[in-house]
Symmetry: C3
Subunit: 421 residues, 3 copies
């Protein structure tokens, strides 16, 4: 109707100011959201769950990514496979629950039947000219990184996943994800663009004022700080914290627990960062009393006091590996202004609820933290329609990882837009 | 924002693959939905209800078609008329209920008053220059086919309705729609594009796996089958069913009940199909026990065992005329992904609820079937955003009528787009 | 997808028929809604509330106008200020309640802290290069017209506000808005475009048939009438009403209460109209028994029987100043088809609920009237998707002010579109 002059995405990316939040259109525009789905979520490795989600042959899980419903199934040879959850006949969705167990994959509409390797076994009434072999389920790329499942909807996924797996594997292996079970899963829809959810995760500048539970096990000095603003007391504490990290890293690495920071957040296509950090208090876990929430430790670990290994992957995940449990998060965009945050708590697969762990104790810190973060994300989203919003400056001391997330995003989008033009 | 290259409708129609479902855009795109409303629902005869809906002078019914609210009223000369339900003053909607009885049609806003023939009788304060005669209600074309009401929003409706009425009239007449009453009406909103609702109706390939109630009175062999897949037992049964139809048609036609198939689903602008088929079990009605649900039979019928006369009209209706009752369905698109399915059960107007018929027994088969179909339609709609969806093949043995529906739709749309360009 | 030819706004404005309602696009099109926000709500003085909403230093109120959240605060020097409610760091909304009291304005995300004059007092961890003085809250223009608060989101607000204040001030002053309190506030979302809500307010042609409560204190002859349609009885009554106004105006003006009509509804950028009119019955107030609802009269008034001073401002307000209370309305567009109607009832600030006034008696007339109007607005909105809607004629006797509203709107929009092209 109106000839509203709209700035092309390419120019928005070129003009954006480094070290500042993005222009509002990136957080609210449905067209940019669609571009995000094409340029980011259909091209990159997306974290979606863990092998224990499909522990046994026939176990199936579905996940929605960028408009695609994907079914992940463990086949009879114990291999985890992924397929588009779409019948090749009339397009009906095949599996309707998030989790289940099947023999074959049978469409409820006209009973077309696929095996766990995706082949069409049976379709009635289709006549002699019909070729079943041309109507198998469409496969989706899937990789397991020590039990963490990543899918890629592109025909040719980013090749650097092998390198990521090689470098990250030794960090994760001691926590033995494959030997865990999902003790609890929480799905919440945050009232914000997925990038606001990610930016919120990439800094702890907001933790002191908003996360009373999370700041119990975490050291405040780990969040970053401006050295100019510190008094002597602060400076002494920060120094002590630095020593603690150095000592711990030395001990943990000696004990076979890789701990030193790797940061490839904006330097690889499959960007990631990891580091093992000491915990405050009793130093055992992300719990209110900072003690292990589960008596059975993970893998072959015999000591709970091994700090927390944090892992971040672009574009949509973060994870905390403790000695006694793992908390793992994936962000799945819903629309331009809503994002699903899926959180899973993993414990040793032989741990017994009520005996080895108490579910409320296990989950309370991050359930509370997620709720608080969701509110904060909504506060930012609220302003994205305001004529007064303009990109604001990231703190050079506490928001470096946010900046790296935004840099990675802009780089990947520029690459996508460039290829299309 | 983005220069997403969008395929024009004309090209999508030209490129579509015959014998396959349509490309996803036809089932999800709001622009194509708007084109459907212009090209199909504002140009063709749309089935909206029955004369018994407005049995007495002053009875009024409203129906929403393609953004238009239409009021259908029986005037004081017993003529059924249709008007746009819009006051000519400030545009206020005039009648707000789906059914009612009025003397005149009075706007609640400023009391402008129209008679049942649509003339403006009274408008206060409009001054001496105001011409009431230029401000009557805008008429809508309406035709009654033996009591079935069809409206057309176009200035010049398709002319072939006369032929349709001439050929269909003798099939419907024995069931005497005008002498019935609406015993029950159900409105459900299916979570799918109207074409998915129609396609679902045009085949019974899905019945065996999904409609335990409906398959009691219906013969399985009536749904179509692939001869190559049959064993001797199946073949013998199918042959017996063929003989049954031939014998029944001969007897029914001799008794004054036209029964033989007419199929003009994709060969006329006002496409339709009809056929009378024997029923399974006791062979009397669409009920769980296959016996008549109403003791008073329709019209002058004296025998309930006359099978079921089915009628399909393009773009939006189907009907089952039994000896004891009629079930009649209209599909009214809501938006690109939602469709209203309106079902009415008609019985003899003198039949008494609780004496001649039990409402639950009368309605249970189709209430259950509609619910099941709504779920199936939703399964297909779910996949229309998936990058993996692609048009799939219709069964040449069981989905011929679906294909004819799609052919009719594409032909009408090509005609519409052609005229506009 | 389709090449739907859309008429540009400029041409729609040029082609519209004077004396008739607007084409449907103006009441339903999201693009025109966006243009309304830019051309009307971001350029003109918008009525948003009263000084008693922020009676004390630190009192803060938020209001949503055209996508902007604005916070209005009384600072420590008793000055009322307005700011965009957006943190300059990550854009988080600052104040989340409609009403509150604060010391400073503290962002809940990272604790950035602003004083009541909008300056950034404190932002942690931002490093030595960060300039706090460049990151203050963005101010919004605000004016108090004898206690009525108007904001303007434009950089350069319409300059004629001074003239409006000069001419209107003496009418309002005797009711002493600043010396009142908000006894009750009602927010309802009407199911219609904001212009339908405004048009509904600008005439009382619909009152007789729809507002049984409001028509008790109001004289029917005040709504306008067609002289041609009157009989001798009507004519005599209308004449008596004319005399009553003349006599009352003479007496009231003599007593220091300006009363004569000023009408600049479509002749000024900041269009307005005011007039004091006698009330029917006991003539004291907008109540069911037409008596004063509050024992404590406003300002220095000693007599409740001073009729009702009505005030209308373009684009979004109307007000009724009685001797004992004030009812004041603002319309805040939500989207193309929904509008927030905010109504406040003001009484003397020392009046005590239950002693000096009864809340139900105070509010019942306008709560009922608002509900009735909301329904009527919805009736019109319902037709805006209908192909049958076309602009209809305004009554030259009862809808003159509606016409002036539409003229003002079209003039302002033509000016806006002209400047942009």
């Amino acid at each position: 109707m109106l000839d509203v002059t709209q700035t092309p995405l390419q120019q928005l990316l070129r003009d954006r100011r480094r070290g500042y939040t993005l222009p509002a259109a990136f957080y609210r525009d449905p067209e940019i959201f669609r571009a995000d789905m094409e340029g980011i979520f259909k091209r990159n490795w997306i974290y979606v769950g863990v092998e224990p989600d499909v522990a046994e042959p026939g176990d199936v899980m579905t996940v929605e990514v960028a408009g695609a419903s994907v079914l992940i199934v463990r086949d009879d040879d114990d291999e985890v496979r992924a397929f588009h959850n779409v019948c090749r006949h009339r397009g009906a969705r095949l599996v309707h629950e998030e989790k289940g167990t099947v023999g074959n994959i049978v469409c409820r509409y006209h009973s077309w039947t696929y095996d766990l390797a995706g082949s069409l076994l049976h379709a009635e009434h289709m006549g002699p000219d019909f070729k079943a072999c041309s109507h198998g389920l469409k496969p989706v790329h899937i990789r397991s990184l020590e039990g963490l499942l990543f899918i890629c909807l592109a025909d040719e996924p980013p090749a650097d996943f092998d390198e990521v797996a090689r470098r990250l594997g030794p960090y994760i292996a001691p926590h033995n994800v494959r030997n865990t079970k999902v003790a609890f899963q929480s799905d919440i829809v945050e009232p914000g663009n997925w990038k606001l959810t990610m930016e919120n995760n990439r800094e702890c500048y907001h933790c002191a004022a908003n996360h009373p539970e999370l700041t119990v096990p975490l050291f405040a000095y780990g969040f970053g700080f401006s050295p100019e603003e510190m008094d002597d007391y602060d400076r002494a504490n920060a120094e002590r914290y630095g020593c603690l990290i150095r000592d711990n890293h030395r001990d943990w690495e000696a004990a076979g627990l890789p701990s030193k920071e790797i940061d490839e957040l904006d330097t690889m296509v499959t960007g990631f960062r990891t580091e093992r950090l000491p915990l405050d208090g009793d130093g055992e876990s992300h719990t209110i009393d900072t003690k292990a929430a589960c008596k059975k430790l993970l893998g072959d670990l015999t000591n709970a006091k091994i700090g927390g290994l944090s892992l971040w992957t672009q574009p949509n995940s973060w994870h905390h590996f403790l000695g006694d449990h793992i908390v793992t998060f994936s962000v799945l965009p819903v629309d331009a202004t809503h994002s699903l945050l899926r959180t899973k708590w993993l414990v040793h697969k032989d741990a017994v609820e009520g005996v080895d762990y108490d579910l409320e104790n296990l989950t309370s810190v991050w359930l509370a933290t997620n709720d608080q973060d969701s509110t904060l994300v909504g506060y930012c989203q609220s302003s994205m329609e305001s004529p007064a919003y303009e990109p604001g400056p990231y703190s050079p001391n506490t928001e470096m990882l946010v900046e790296k997330f935004v840099n990675w995003y802009c780089g990947r989008m520029a690459d996508y837009v460039g290829r299309r033009s």
